[in-house]
């Protein structure tokens, strides 16, 4: 075999050659220092190129793109863009969460929760949802440690969102499947003295872990999203149009920011 040309060498580095060609080029590389150096340089430039664009994957998704992916009309996109600009001001500034006493914020988040009652009003729904009697759960997963205050559990068959019939019919469950999250169940809580619902999602990705979405009625004014972190749990909280929201999980902050953008869009429509 002749000395490999650049395109064959690159195809070799990309794993695109058949076994016989691979073996031939491997033989050349073993005996030709100049070719080895060439292969190393090409490998480095490829790694540099990947590194140059990896950053994009870690950026929070703009809300307008989530809206576009969900088929939002122009009006919704416009509204979303305004919200996005507001959040971008927060995100685009200095590392705003640095200096926040994360533990204190987190404690405030937790203290806001109280004992759940038997019947609650769900956001955007005048009806009440009856809690399954005696359906208390005990576990040592982080949502429970986070709260330690939920006492009731909506009866749903795990993995079967269609059995979500204990909640008001017009309560639309946020769809987080694009993020690899499956809805598992809901709990009733009290947040800021108001009834709230905690939606629990899990994923098969051990690196991400479960995510909890809390939705509550709130008489307080709108509040831009805030980030807090404590004991390896990241929490995003915000208020919008009479509702208070929280998103908590052990996953990294960027992943949660993306889910938050999607949730904010979905909740606008709920």
């Amino acid at each position: 075999m002749l000395k490999p040309s650049d395109d064959r060498l690159i195809a070799y580095l990309d794993g695109e050659l058949d076994e016989s060609e691979r073996a031939a080029i491997a033989h050349w590389l073993e005996h030709d220092g100049e070719l080895r150096e060439r292969a190393a340089l090409l490998g480095e430039s490829a790694a540099a190129l990947r590194a140059a664009f990896d950053e994009v994957l870690r950026e929070p998704l703009p809300e307008r793109l989530i809206a576009a992916a969900r088929g939002a009309g122009a009006a919704v996109v416009e509204l979303s863009a305004a919200r996005s600009r507001r959040w971008n001001r927060v995100l685009g500034g200095p590392r705003w969460w640095v200096g926040i006493a994360a533990a204190a914020s987190f404690a405030a988040f937790a203290i806001g929760f109280g004992l759940g009652g038997g019947e609650v009003t769900l956001p955007g729904a005048p009806e009440t949802a009856r809690v399954a009697p005696g359906a208390e759960l005990v576990s040592d997963t982080f949502p429970d440690n986070l709260a330690g205050y939920y006492k009731r559990y909506v009866t749903v068959n795990p993995g079967d969102a269609t059995s979500f019939d204990k909640l008001p019919q017009n309560f639309h469950l946020p769809n987080l499947k694009p993020w690899g999250l499956d809805f598992q169940g809901a709990r009733f809580l009290m947040v800021e003295g108001q009834p709230a619902t905690a939606l629990v999602y899990t994923t098969s990705n051990q690196a991400l872990g479960p995510v909890i979405v809390v939705v509550a009625n709130s008489g307080k004014p709108d509040e831009t999203v805030r980030f807090a972190r404590s004991s390896d749990i990241n929490v995003l909280r915000w208020r919008h149009h009479g509702h208070a929201y929280a998103l908590a999980g052990t996953a990294n902050a960027n992943y949660l920011w993306n889910i938050h953008n999607d949730l904010a869009y979905q909740f606008d429509g709920i």
Partner: protein, 175 residues
């Protein structure tokens, strides 16, 4: 609107943004491009063939819209500011230098012909096979292979021209 298409769109958004960022060299233009691609995908969801790769279909849509835009402009784009990746002036020197190296890589990519850029972004950045990239670009595999080779050699030459680039890029990767 197909719900499943929406879900798949959201899942592939980060990669579409990366692909579009590489094509356009601009964060804003890239997001505009991705948004247009989402809208087109939803309006033509019936054209998606079940059993084929959704991400490849989306890359093809992004590429098609971008090529159309390039043709419409009929001009070489000016040096675009890379809004999403600008170098912070208050960063520590070593980190700023590393980011500068990555910016040089992006600039080098931007100097390549569009078809070479597409090949590099699909194969080298996104990890598609030559066959998959050929399907996205709608060209034979051999064409992808030769475009890729020319692109990799040209990129290598441009990076070699940057002094100390290799060390700074390694720093950036380490971060």
């Amino acid at each position: 609107m197909s719900v499943s298409v929406s879900d798949q769109l959201i899942a592939v958004l980060p990669r579409m943004r990366r692909f579009a960022r590489g094509l356009t060299g601009s964060a804003v233009e890239a997001d505009d491009l991705v948004q247009a691609a989402c809208e087109r995908a939803l309006s033509r969801a019936h054209q998606f063939q079940e059993g084929t790769r959704f991400d490849s279909w989306m890359f093809r849509i992004v590429q098609t819209i971008w090529i159309d835009q390039l043709r419409a402009r009929d001009t070489r784009r000016e040096e675009a500011e890379d809004e999403g990746m600008h170098v912070g002036t208050d960063e520590p020197g070593r980190r700023a230098e590393a980011r500068l190296a990555l910016q040089e890589v992006r600039n080098a990519l931007r100097e390549l012909p569009p078809e070479q850029r597409v090949a590099l972004l699909l194969v080298t950045v996104d990890g598609l096979s030559y066959k998959e990239a050929a399907e996205v670009a709608e060209v034979p595999v051999g064409t992808i292979m030769s475009r890729l080779a020319r692109a990799r050699v040209a990129l290598q030459a441009k990076l070699d021209a940057g002094s100390g680039l290799r060390r700074r890029t390694q720093d950036a990767e380490a971060e």
